[in-house]
Amino acid sequence: MTVLELDGELVRRARELAERAAAPVVDLARTHTTVSVERAVLRLAGLTGTDPVLGDGEVPWVNRVVDAVRDQVGLEHGVALPVWHALGGGGSLQELAEQVGAGTARFSIPADPEPARAAARAAVATGIARIDANRARRDELVALHGDPPRRPWIYLIVATGDIYEDIPQAQAAARAGADVIAVIRSTGQSLLDYVPEGATRTGYAGTYATGENFRLMRAALDDVGAELGRYVRLTNYASGLCMPEIAVLAGLERLDMMLNDAMYGILFRDINPRRTFVDQRFSRMVHARAGIIINTGEDNYLTTADAVDEAHTVTVSQLLNETLAHEAGLEDWQLGLGHAFEINPAVPESFRLELAHALLARGLFPDAPLKWMPPTKHMTGDVFGGYLLDGFFNLAGALTGQGILLVGMMTEAVVTPWLSDRDLALRNVRYVLEAAGNLHEDFAPPRGGFIDRRAHTVLTEAVQLLERIADHPQGLIQAIADGTFGITKRSPDGGKGLDGVARLAADAYNPAMELMERVDA
């Protein structure tokens, strides 16, 4: 594999700064909990369903129970102690939820926490055991059917809004060569403070992420994987206000990859930074346990900022995502760090610049399956020009050893992909990989040449930005508030979801954290 020889001292400095910049975030996450983390605990213990009486019956029981605990005893102890203390006299979690619905449930913090802790631990362990079993089952299926025959894995998006339409489209995409199917979520789901329930048919520009939708798609892809003799991976989005719960649902239903970025929700969705960082750490612990590969969202920076001027912000974000992911227990093979082919094609040497940026990421993260995102910003509706650009994108992906290649559509920004658009896009990928998939063997950019110099320029700029971030008293948190990322300023006390964050009390107990951390140790 082609790897640039990066300046080792500069690389060490970058990692050290990233760790320092992220330290306050880790502290924050360790000392706080959120409503969604607590709901995720109840989901691991098996609580499902919605309150049929409230609203249109869309409010999940996990929301009802967590809200009731918060109202009665606060969130700062976690929900495990009050909930399993209330269950001490017998009865199921489901029955307790119904008492919450009826307004008769009473919560308190037990004087002797041990019985409630033991009961909570046992209940949550059943969910963790199911996640472990799913991980083992994935390994079995990969051993049985096999992995895709080459890298990069071909990643294709499906999104009709209706899970029953998505299924045949996803199966068709797998038959046409897709290794990874991503089901895009309905517009705005990231801002819902609950996870919808059941099979859904009414998403807008995407399909709701629900446990049942996950289950249906998983089963359909297992079927087509057996038919094709190739394990077909399923992807969804652990982002937004319910990140921890979606991560749990993904683990329970054997999803294989999850979009899970440290800062995306803060910068692009105006979700409160504290909420995001606390939710983030828990969800990443779940992904680590479940053997799920995360995909980070650095491509998004380049859709707003200039891909040449701001290339170093991608590197900085990758380094921050890496350090936060490692801290949460994820291993290198699980880090689908993102980057994108978004340089304006009118810029001279644009392709060489793309190669430099892609090789920089490859060199910095040699063991991570990098996620290579196609052009979107300069796809103008000229479908012929777009097809050519996608071809160059595919070539850059093959030449620089990217791990996951999101298939670009020539009709990007025109229509949601037609059947023929997907087919043509996959033909483009196949042609490039078959014609030039091993070209990296012959491709060695010389030291001191254009590509090498550009990669080092970007890395140097990244180190300078990391220095500025790490010098902030609250590291990354304050840097985001100051608009250091150049996109927008997000105050630690602003944005959506802050009221769902609580500082942990000394007696707080989260059995899921305990069970997941135990294995890491």
Binding site: Y204, L267, R269, D270, T303, T304, W418, L424, I487, T488
Partner: protein
């Protein structure tokens, strides 16, 4: 006049489409029939291939028999030009010489912030970044279920140039009632000095602005760029200040 391939008047066009039939002579016949009905005659299927089971993709070249009558072409002109984010920023910076202050909210009981978020959030909508992306705009999104008095208060405190309100829920015409209440409250509290009032939502009729007492109504599918362009048109002076 006719389309131009390589000779004046040859009428040549190319098109591509997919039919839900397996590939083969029958599929090509079906493609030719469609091309003929589209006015392409003679038509040539220059390429076809199957997609999955039961679909065929075609590329067709041919001469279209229709004529274009240039005199009969009428172009709808938007009352204001569509500007790129760079042009919007430049217009505000050079002609207003301060940030343009935008306040957004969902009012009444409406908890659906999808609309206002699509216009304001950096993430944006339909491939366009939201107004937060515009360097020269100062954007505050108050979120859902903001009361009209709160909104008036916030607009005054922040000296908002424009107030953007989205409404999704239309039960019993709640969106129209809420909008009239909004317009009335701003008129009463601030009179002529009130900010520009812009409402939007999937069920609004853009022709209703005057009737509702607001400055502009945006309907389904409106993108952040259209809103930004309108704000420049309505709020930024035509010429640079002397």
């Amino acid at each position: 006049m006719r389309p131009y391939g390589d000779t004046t008047g040859d009428g040549m066009v190319q098109t591509s489409f997919t039919l839900p039939v397996p590939p083969g002579p029958r599929a090509e016949g079906a493609a030719l029939q469609l091309a003929h009905k589209m006015g392409i005659e003679p038509a040539m299927v220059v390429h076809s291939h199957g997609i999955g089971e039961g679909f065929t993709f075609f590329v067709v070249y041919g001469s279209v028999k229709h004529l274009v009558d240039l005199d009969a072409v009428h172009v709808e002109v938007r009352a204001y030009p569509l500007l790129s984010p760079g042009e919007v920023n430049a217009a505000i910076k050079t002609r207003m010489r301060r940030s343009l202050v935008v306040l957004g909210a969902c009012i009444g009981t409406d908890a659906h912030t999808v609309g206002i978020d699509a216009i304001l959030n950096l993430k944006g909508f339909a491939g366009e970044k939201g107004l937060e992306y515009y360097r020269e705009m100062q954007v505050a999104n108050l979120g859902a279920q903001v009361s009209v008095p709160e909104l008036v208060h916030a607009a005054r405190a922040r000296r908002a140039d424009a107030v953007l309100v989205s409404q999704v829920v239309t039960q019993k015409d709640a969106h129209l009632r809420n909008t009239r209440e909004l317009a009335g409250a701003f008129r009463e509290a601030m009179g002529e000095a009130r900010p520009l009032l812009v409402v939007g939502g999937p069920r609004f009729d853009p022709a209703m602005a005057a009737e509702l007492g607001v400055d502009k109504v945006f309907g389904r599918g409106t993108t952040p760029g259209e809103v930004a362009s309108y704000l420049v048109h309505a709020l930024v002076p035509e010429e640079e200040p002397l």
